[in-house]
Point group: C2
Chain length 306, copies 2
């Protein structure tokens, strides 16, 4: 299978939450995206960069979960990106303790030839110029290009971000970012203004309040958030959502609104699993049955008979 290319950061994370703390574990956006997507029956092909400390056991996490790492450069002169963060008691706030970009600072991605007939391209949250440079390397445009970004780029490189947005089909941001990007407080107005930048779909992530997807032709869909017994570590939930979303679309090979709705549920399912354990641990061990049962939970908490 060759449907999905994922580009994004690969890093080591050290995470502390009220439930415990980790040593350096595999992190950054792309492992969450790839591992979540891999659970939906696709073989994600990764574009990223790591340093000389990214030892074989970390590659093995990706490989044994079906992730192709041909597009992962190894920069032997530098170390892998590192992030350390700590969550507060209620896990609604987190403090970044350390960010070392290391090899990521000079990341100049190359998309391998074998990746270039991908149907879906998922661009994790990185510099907009790097995202657009990746798109330009595809001789044949993927059927669906999904872009994740954040407020940082809206403030720092708004022009470059606008150009990148104009090249993609789907944008995923949170509700505050949608307001910031559009200058509109009312979410419907914000969504219309952002869709008018040339998108087919806009996904607005609302954390504990679920997610919305708006289509350019005026439809929308509301996915709830599952209410979980235990949230152990919220790191990577948004990326797992993106991975579930694009993995589902790639596996189905369709981009109509019915598929997109189910893909948003797939994303919500993966986001919910992710935060139940530290890092990517839960994503690595999910079975088809785990996923099917959780999809049923989403059906159960939203279905009604009037």
């Amino acid at each position: 299978m060759n449907e999905l290319v994922v580009a994004g950061s690969l890093a080591f994370d050290a995470i502390e939450t009220p439930f415990g703390k980790t040593d350096k574990i595999i992190g950054g956006a792309s492992p969450y995206i790839s591992l979540a997507a891999s659970r939906l029956g696709v073989k994600p092909r990764l574009v990223s960069v790591v340093g000389n400390d990214f030892t074989p056991e970390f590659f093995d996490i990706l490989h044994r979960n079906g992730v192709d790492t041909e597009g992962v450069k190894v920069d032997n002169n530098q170390k892998t990106m590192f992030w350390a963060g700590k969550y507060n008691k209620d896990m609604n706030e987190r403090t970044t303790l350390k960010t070392e970009l290391n090899c990521f600072e000079t990341f100049n991605p190359t998309v391998p030839e074998s990746y270039k007939n991908a149907k879906v391209l998922m661009l994790g949250n990185i510099t907009p110029t790097i995202q657009s440079a990746i798109i330009k390397q595809f001789s044949k445009r993927p059927d669906l290009i999904v872009l994740d970004t954040m407020n940082f780029w809206m403030e720092r490189t708004p022009k470059e971000l606008e150009e990148t947005i104009s090249m993609v089909d789907v944008l995923t941001i949170n509700d505050e970012e949608a307001r910031q990007l559009s200058g509109e407080f009312v979410l419907l107005k914000a969504a219309k203004k952002i869709l008018a930048k040339g998108l087919k779909y806009l996904i607005i992530k609302k954390g504990d309040n679920g997610a919305l997807v708006f289509s350019a032709d005026g439809n929308y869909f509301s996915a709830p958030a599952l209410i979980l017994d235990t949230v152990v570590d919220p790191t990577g939930c948004g990326d797992s959502f993106a991975g579930g979303f694009c993995g589902y679309v790639a596996a189905k090979g369709k981009t109509d609104f019915e598929t997109i709705k189910a893909a948003v549920i797939a994303g919500s399912v993966m986001g919910s699993f992710c935060c139940e354990k530290f890092g990517t641990e839960n994503l690595q061990n999910l079975t088809d049955q785990d996923i099917a049962e959780r999809v049923k939970q989403f059906e159960k908490i939203t279905s009604f008979k009037f």
Copy 2:
């Protein structure tokens, strides 16, 4: 029909929003609750108090919508309660310009004999001791007692509120109030702690993010918020939600979880209609078809096929 008794404030409101302003219109919680409930096929019986300025045309609004006002006292020595408020540009904040309690200050409710075999009792947001005094007047306990309250009473009269909560089946509050009442930040923990006060169901209203209902036996349901083209006046949306909820339950005559889920949708439908026009105007003119079409919209934005 004699299934639903509604107790709550009756007032005049003067409302200003970016879409315009009103003179004194019928307001307070109970008209919103009653009119919303009346649209679902029940005849709400109202317990409240008005002053000497509550002229026949205002009673007529209630009567022609099937609301029984035998339990509405007329205090000829005072004026009707009055509230004036103004919403900001984005309608996410409102400023109270004036509150005159008038006849409501000495409100001492009497439930008429003809009301006392009601199946559902809805207590709008008023002083907890008045709410409990109303419950105590029912010789035969209603099948379902629904209580609305707010943070003001949690701070001002916590003991009286706790006593009132212990007498009811369903509590409706917003997410911040659920956290305040329970002392728990995580919503699931908050819900469990509040349900343990003896409730059958807890409804958490989340405004633009929909509503949740939790049952004492461990189920929950997530209702989305409809995304509306125009929000003209948010006043009374929460009360319209409560009215739709208890009107549906009273009309069905059942209190199982499947009925409660649909009732939360009925509440969401009524809340969405309410805010599209000033005051109770939209509630007064809804047809069965309007309601059926909006229920279909709720089905459409939540249904998916994985």
